[in-house]
């Protein structure tokens, strides 16, 4: 067990390093001189040279990378060009908003979708299964930002129950905060139910065909117990991996939902940064989100043996 954990932790270091290199190289591909971008067209040749020296742009590229990496490891992601604020606190602040929505949606979706998928698998090819599979495939096909718009149209515009634009943080007013995030959470939950249901169904079907299930049934174990005690633990492990992937993918693609619901999240910060050519912010957001994705996958892998102890036995 300990060896598995240590090996998995060590594997993360080179991945994180390669991710950092990729983000660094990507932003170096941007045409133009970063110093010129930061200071604008009015800058004199002296101030440009001064800033280039400050940023280390007069150094060779590998040295620049090490310099940047050193700063990143000390938690310094630079300053935003648009408002001169340090990038990391900005990101952490916005990340809270995105993380709340994404985590809530994934938890809710799993609570609904795993039993639904198992139920469909248990009565495979029955009308109930057909309805669940059709529903899941439909949810899989609807883009999140459209479902969000439809939700706003129904609950915001037509019924007038919930606000259409804006955001209030939990620290300010928990009740009103909830009113602003309930629709985004509902939207993402509905979308992700599709993927998780299909995975849970496929995994359960595989497990239900195994001999130990037939054995349990032959012994006279009630069907409910066969499903929950015997099938679920083995069917949940692959589903768990998919849930982890979804969590990471949602963080990467959260910008569209934040745009629909005008939420000040991490995705919106990245997109606004791209529009404003605020490269420290773009670089910081990309790095932060990618590292989060790596960490989520790490967490999923570390928890995997809890659901499937066989993986550590190898």
């Amino acid at each position: 067990m300990l060896r598995y954990i240590i090996r998995r932790l060590l594997m993360t270091v080179p991945t994180a390093l390669l991710v950092a290199i990729a983000v660094f190289v990507l932003l170096r591909l941007v045409p133009g001189d970063p110093a010129q971008l930061m200071l604008g067209d009015t800058a004199t040749e002296e101030t440009l040279a001064e800033l280039r020296r400050q940023l280390g742009l007069d150094q060779p590229i590998p040295l620049q990378f090490l310099y940047w990496l050193g700063n990143v490891l000390r938690g310094d992601l630079g300053r935003s060009i648009t408002n001169d604020l340090p990038v990391l606190p900005l990101i952490v602040d916005r990340f809270r908003v995105s993380a709340t929505i994404v985590v809530a949606a994934v938890v809710l979706a799993s609570i609904i979708a795993v039993p639904a998928g198992m139920l469909a698998a248990w009565r495979q090819n029955s009308p109930g299964d057909l309805v669940i599979v059709a529903g899941a495939t439909l949810m899989l096909s609807i883009p999140s930002f459209w479902l969000g718009l439809l939700m706003l149209l129904l609950f915001g515009v037509k019924l007038g129950w919930l606000p259409v634009v804006g955001y209030v943080s939990f620290a300010e007013d928990p009740g009103r905060a909830l009113a602003y995030i309930v629709l985004p959470i509902a939207t993402l939950t509905l979308i992700e139910i599709g993927v998780v249901t299909r995975m849970a169904r496929a995994a359960t079907i595989e497990v239900l065909r195994l001999e130990y299930i037939t054995h349990a049934r032959a012994k006279g174990v009630p069907e409910g117990r066969v499903l929950w005690r015997h099938a679920l633990p083995n069917a949940f492990a692959p589903t768990w991996t998919v849930i982890g992937l979804i969590l990471g993918n949602l963080l990467g693609g959260i910008a569209v939902v934040e745009t629909v619901f005008t939420l000040p999240g991490l995705g919106r910060l990245l997109v606004d940064g791209i529009f404003a050519r605020d490269y420290p912010v773009v670089q910081g957001c990309l790095l932060f989100t990618a590292i989060m994705y790596v960490l989520v996958n790490l967490l999923v892998d570390l928890l995997y043996p809890v659901f499937d102890p066989r993986v550590t036995a190898e």
Binding site: T15, L18, V19, I21, A22, V23, L26, L27, L29, V30, N125, L130, T137, L138, L140, S141, I142, P143, F145, W146, L147, L149, L150, L152, L153, G156, V157, V164, A202, I205, E206, R209, G248, N249, L251, G252, G253, A255, V256, T259, V260, L270, V271, G273, I274, F275, V282, L286, T289, A290, Y293, V294
Partner: protein, 274 residues
């Protein structure tokens, strides 16, 4: 029996939806009811009527015409993206799987790094570098999705190359490249087709998401994604603008998902049992 029926129904519904999309896309390049780009400020935000079947947008442009033109753009972008991802992925995957050694290790290290990014995030980063335009999206999404093709192709090549008929091809004196092209590659077709089909769906979704964010095909050229983005401020005045483009994306995705399921069941015998 029932499963068979469901497969047929999946393939039929999915095939019809995609067929209609292709037909509309081709028709749009020849004819649309109105010019999708023509601004008519006297007919702004008109609700659906006999003249404008799905109403007009904030510039008085006909929604049906714009949806048709958008179908063409989406289908073209998705097709070119999937093709570039597959060509790039197959090339790198076959080289890595067949040559092996240090080249394989180096290629896979880079590949796994790219896989460490969620696809849409990588595309966002690349769009930041390239700026919003049609060719930028194709390149960005192609690069973002090629790594998963590399993985699948390399894995298949690794398992195929150990087979006896590959050995036989070498023994009778065929060159490595001939063996690769003639015997290894054809055996990778099934998983590539399955992957490419679902990838077509991811790309349609990713392209409309990027356009929705304003990082895709730039206006005034219509895409379903940028039509939805433009509709957001008029949600209460002109709700029809928010409904039609999303429905088009959803139907396309549904078609691809159904077709993909049917294909996977047919081509992937392990899944077919389920």
């Amino acid at each position: 029996m029932r499963r068979r029926f469901r497969l047929r129904a999946n393939a039929l519904i999915g095939g019809t939806l995609i067929g209609v999309l292709a037909l509309v896309g081709v028709t749009a390049s020849l004819w649309t009811p109105f010019d999708p780009l023509r601004i008519n400020l006297r007919a702004r935000l008109r609700p659906p009527s006999d003249l404008y079947w799905l109403g007009t947008d904030e510039f008085g442009r006909d929604v049906v015409s714009r949806l048709m033109a958008g179908a063409g753009t989406s289908a073209l972008v998705a097709l070119l993206t999937v093709m570039s991802a597959v060509v790039l992925g197959v090339f790198i995957g076959v080289v890595a799987g067949f040559v092996r050694g240090w080249l394989d290790r180096a290629l896979m290290a880079v590949n796994d790094t790219l896989l460490a990014f969620p696809g849409i995030l990588l595309a966002l980063g690349l769009m930041a570098v390239m700026g919003p335009n049609k060719w930028g999206i194709i390149l960005a999404l192609g690069l973002a999705y090629a790594p998963s093709v590399v993985r699948v192709v390399r894995a298949t090549v690794l398992s195929v190359r150990e087979r006896e008929y590959i050995e036989a091809s070498r023994v009778i004196g065929n060159s490595e490249i001939y063996t690769m092209m003639r015997h290894v590659l054809p055996n990778c077709t099934a998983p590539i087709v399955v992957l490419a089909t679902s990838m077509f769906g991811w790309v349609v979704l990713a392209e409309s998401a990027l356009s929705f964010l304003g990082l895709g095909v730039p206006p005034p050229a219509p895409t379903w994604g940028n039509m939805l983005a433009a509709a957001r401020p008029y949600l209460d005045q002109a709700p029809w603008l928010s409904i039609a483009p999303g429905l088009c994306i959803a139907l396309t995705m549904l078609g691809i998902n159904l077709l993909g399921d049917a294909l996977r069941d047919r081509l992937d015998p392990r899944m077919a049992a389920a």
